[in-house]
Symmetry: C2
Subunit: 132 residues, 2 copies
């Protein structure tokens, strides 16, 4: 069954990990797992403090070239009647948004507060599906 | 640390669920969770037998318009030193490839064998990362 936008957002916000899809200038998709915090219809993510290989910040170059992003959270179980997923589609920008919501959600960030740019997504559509 | 292509492929193949990113004609990414089977550098997925809402087959329209896809498998744990992810980038086509590898991997498919088109991905790059 399809989930309501409110239910999709609620399940999404409660998850600990999501996957972020961006698109490069040539139209190739790029995927990374991300931690994130939801506030209303916004999602904030940090770029980890540790040095990154070149490919790791591809998401930033992609967003600057094409702000359309999609993020997904899903639940897998061998009992396929219990599967569910929720998705957030929206527009991203590279910002200096405060990372407090991330630090609140993830104690891991309290030891080493994320530095560097953040990604802020304005979600334009929350969708989802769940088995019965 | 970066994982070798062989290690990335091995971890990917063993996973039960992945996420598939496709891109539509306007450059918007689209994400769905998928079950899949890996054989060499090919990944096969089925479209579920049950009737789908229009948006559910968007992946097929996207692949027909733009065959570039990316798929990710990731492991999350509150101990961030144990995180890992593996990614398959490649080119997809909508085919009638036999679904036997899927039926072998997923007993769920033995009860109701998947009908309809399959998606076959030729993987051009296996990448991955794991905490230490």
């Amino acid at each position: 069954m399809n989930l309501s936008p409110d239910e999709a957002r609620s399940r999404f916000a409660a998850a600990r990990v999501a996957r972020l899809a961006t698109v490069d200038e040539a139209g190739h998709p790029h995927l990374v797992p991300v931690v994130f915090a939801v506030h209303g219809n916004e999602i904030v993510m940090a770029i980890d403090h540790k040095p990154k290989a070149r490919r790791e910040v591809r998401r930033l170059a992609n967003i600057r070239a094409n702000p359309a992003v999609s993020m997904i959270v899903d639940h897998y179980d061998e009992d396929w009647t219990t599967l569910w997923w929720v998705r957030a589609d929206g527009t991203a920008e590279v910002t200096e948004t405060p990372v407090d919501p991330l630090v609140t959600k993830y104690p891991q960030y309290q030891r080493i507060r994320p530095a560097g740019p953040t990604i802020l997504v304005q979600v334009t559509r929350w969708t989802g599906w769940a088995g019965t």
